[in-house]
């Protein structure tokens, strides 16, 4: 009987198996890496309607985070400052800046400035700023060095795994209440002792059950 297939066909099944295994591994690793919030979302820094510089307001003028984002201490959201908050100063200063025109328009029309949200958790995740701030988590832990940002950028992935990293071991991220807004604070040598004391004193028990965040 004549041969139907040439000899090199013998190689095909083995190579097919190898390619399939490689392909599946690559697809899984590809999705894991390129599909992660870490890859897709960190570094997000949209241009805002007003080029507000945190570097200037925080580092040079020394305005505290709470002046504009006071909600973080009492409520679930830290809050974006209203036009009124901006106008406490800008009714008197910076009148010559063209870039502040949207703010003045907002002041006159009563319609808020349409800031673009940078840190947006999915709706199925419940997050409360106040419990984190009052437990001793500093702003910088999640938002990065905002005091050095001319344009606000998302520095952390804010994926579920990232939340859990801290919830499983919060101690390294705790700090004294007085240092919450201090962007440059460095933990002292005996930080773990302090953190342990804080955990006991405030009864900090970061929850890791589903219902804590998915209510």
């Amino acid at each position: 009987m004549p041969q139907i297939f040439p000899r090199w066909v013998n190689e095909i099944p083995g190579r097919l198996q190898l390619s399939a295994i490689l392909l599946i591994t690559l697809v899984i690793l590809g999705f894991w890496y390129f599909g992660s919030p870490e890859y897709l979302e960190t570094g997000y820094a949209p241009n805002q309607p007003i080029p507000f510089s945190h570097t200037f307001h925080v580092t040079e003028l020394g305005i505290d985070c709470q002046y504009c984002h006071g909600g973080a201490w009492e409520s679930a959201v830290a809050g974006i400052p209203s036009t009124q908050t901006c106008m406490t100063c800008h009714e008197y200063v910076g009148l010559e800046h063209e870039t502040l025109q949207p703010l003045r328009d907002s002041w006159e029309s009563g319609m808020p400035v349409e800031w673009i949200r940078v840190h947006d958790l999915p709706d199925h995740a419940y997050f409360n700023h106040s419990i984190h701030v009052n437990a001793g988590i500093g702003c910088v832990s999640c938002h990065g060095r905002v005091d050095r940002m001319d344009v606000v950028m998302k520095t952390e992935s804010m994926s579920m795994g990232w939340c859990l990293d801290c919830h499983n071991n919060p101690a390294p991220h705790l700090r004294p209440t007085s240092e919450i807004t201090n962007m440059a604070w460095e933990p002292p040598e005996n930080h773990m002792e302090f953190a342990q004391m804080l955990i006991e004193k405030r009864n900090i028990d970061a929850s890791v059950y589903c219902n804590a965040c998915h209510r």
């Binding site: 009987m1 066909v9 690793l29 579920m160 990232w162």
Partner: protein, 459 residues
């Protein structure tokens, strides 16, 4: 001379066939012109398959509310159909693996056929757990994949074990079926005339030449796969039964479930093989190979497993009384006399009463009756799964949250549609593949005995 006429009635292959005529009998089928009935059957199956597709799209588009599911019955026809189809899928591996290890020569006539049925039945079964999850786009979460949520599947859940059990069963059954097919695919490759059909069979025959080395590897691989498949016959339906037994619902939370489910699975699987076999042997004139003796042997297995199932029904009631748990007692009395009593008594009639006919040899060898009862048994087994799934959920601990399940048209048409899926594949199998393991059947013929020709020449 006298020897051959004496043993004629014990022969597994009737009708004085030799090796060449057996090969011709089976390998001619895919080469003949497609019969008209095949086109009609395939057309109907395709319509049903298209309907299934439509129903699945409707389900995914609208959510599982299009089924009759609601509180308190969260599992209805979907899980009933799943367990039913998986159960049917049990006959294949039982015949191919366990009967192989026990050296039951009669399996050779039906193993290919039953294994194909198994694979297609498991495909129908696998559809239901996949589509019943509600958010099918997140179904890859059942696999332990690396992800940014640090989430793993719940390894404590029998529902997850089930995914792996059924997937393993499907993989091993398919491999087993395919490995067994290789020598016959090579026969087909050598027989067919067309260039493209030669290539098609040739690709899947993997260069089989029938050399001594090929046969040695083949026999080893087949034995290993049989060894691997044997525990799977028991494990799959054991784990399917854990879906129920590991929960705490009265009527589900029983230790008898694993053996009871396995017996029921073999029972329904053999019934389905018989239903299909009785039609096929007639249509393709394979009465010499799938003989009345085969039918009788299968009916004996049906009788045995049917009585095991009947015993389990009785035992459930006994334990419900003996255990003294009032919810358990209520669950079983409610099954037999509550709002689903109609389903319960259909189940008892079909599964316990019907197989009793097979105590009588005449009935075991009666083709018409066997065909009828094989269908009755599968109706009964469907109702068994329905009774277990739905009655326990509809009325459990709290009377204030009792309910009654009614299917919607989507439930019904989805179930009917799975027959379209099953028969589409099955008809393709009948049309294009050798439906009997040619090489294995030859192995159980007297001519395979090396002393056969010498002995016969003496006379």
């Amino acid at each position: 001379m006298s020897q051959s006429s004496d043993t004629q009635k014990d022969l597994l292959v009737k009708g004085n066939h030799d090796f060449a005529s057996v090969t011709r009998l089976i390998s001619d089928i895919p080469q003949q012109k497609t019969p008209a009935w095949w086109y009609i059957a395939f057309g109907i199956s395709n319509i049903l398959l298209a309907m299934l597709l439509g129903m699945v799209i409707l389900l995914i588009w609208n959510g599982i509310g299009v089924w009759g599911l609601n509180q308190p019955v969260g599992w209805g026809w979907d899980i009933t159909n799943f367990v039913w189809w998986v159960g049917i899928g049990h006959a294949g591996t039982l015949i191919s693996a366990i009967l192989f290890l026990f050296r039951q020569g009669w399996r050779t006539a039906i193993n290919r056929f039953a294994e194909a049925m198994t694979i297609f039945a498991v495909m129908c079964a696998g559809l239901f757990p996949a589509i019943h999850v509600g958010r099918i786009w997140a179904i890859y979460w059942i696999f332990p994949l690396p992800n940014s949520m640090q989430l793993w599947p719940n390894f404590n859940s029998p529902l997850l074990w089930d995914v792996f059990a059924v997937a393993t069963y499907f993989t091993v059954s398919t491999l087993f079926w395919y490995v067994g097919l290789i020598p016959d695919l090579a026969t087909m490759r050598d027989k067919v005339k067309g260039f493209y059909s030669k290539i098609a069979y040739g690709v899947f025959a993997l260069g089989w030449t029938g050399s001594n080395r090929h046969w040695q590897h083949y026999e080893k691989a087949y034995m290993i796969l049989a060894g691997l498949a044997t525990p799977l016959v028991l494990s799959v339906h054991t784990i399917v039964s854990f879906d129920f037994a590991v929960s705490i619902i009265p009527g589900w939370h029983t230790t008898i479930f694993p053996p009871y489910f396995v017996a029921g699975a073999v029972f329904s699987g053999f019934a389905m093989v018989l239903t299909l076999m009785i039609i096929t042997r007639k249509l393709y004139h394979l009465e010499d190979i799938m003989t009345i003796d085969h039918i009788e042997k299968m009916n004996i297995i049906i009788l045995v497993t049917g009585n095991m199932v009947g015993f389990a029904y009785a035992m459930e009631f006994f334990i419900a009384w003996y255990g003294g748990v009032e919810y358990e007692k209520f669950a079983f009395i409610n099954r037999a006399f509550g709002p689903y009593a109609w389903a319960y008594w259909i189940m008892i009639t079909c599964n316990v009463v019907a197989p009793q006919f097979f105590w009588v040899k005449k009935f075991r060898r009666h083709i018409g009756l066997t065909f009828f009862l094989s269908i009755v048994i599968n109706i009964g087994m469907w109702f068994e799964r329905f009774v277990i799934t739905v009655t326990s959920l509809a009325q459990d601990f709290l009377p204030s949250s009792w309910g009654y399940f009614s299917p919607t048209y989507v439930d019904v048409l989805t179930y009917v549609g799975t027959f379209g899926l099953f028969f589409t594949f099955f008809l393709l199998f009948l049309r294009f593949l050798p439906m009997v393991a040619i090489s294995e059947v030859k192995g159980v013929m007297p001519q395979a005995d090396p002393a056969y020709y010498r002995n016969n020449q003496k006379h």
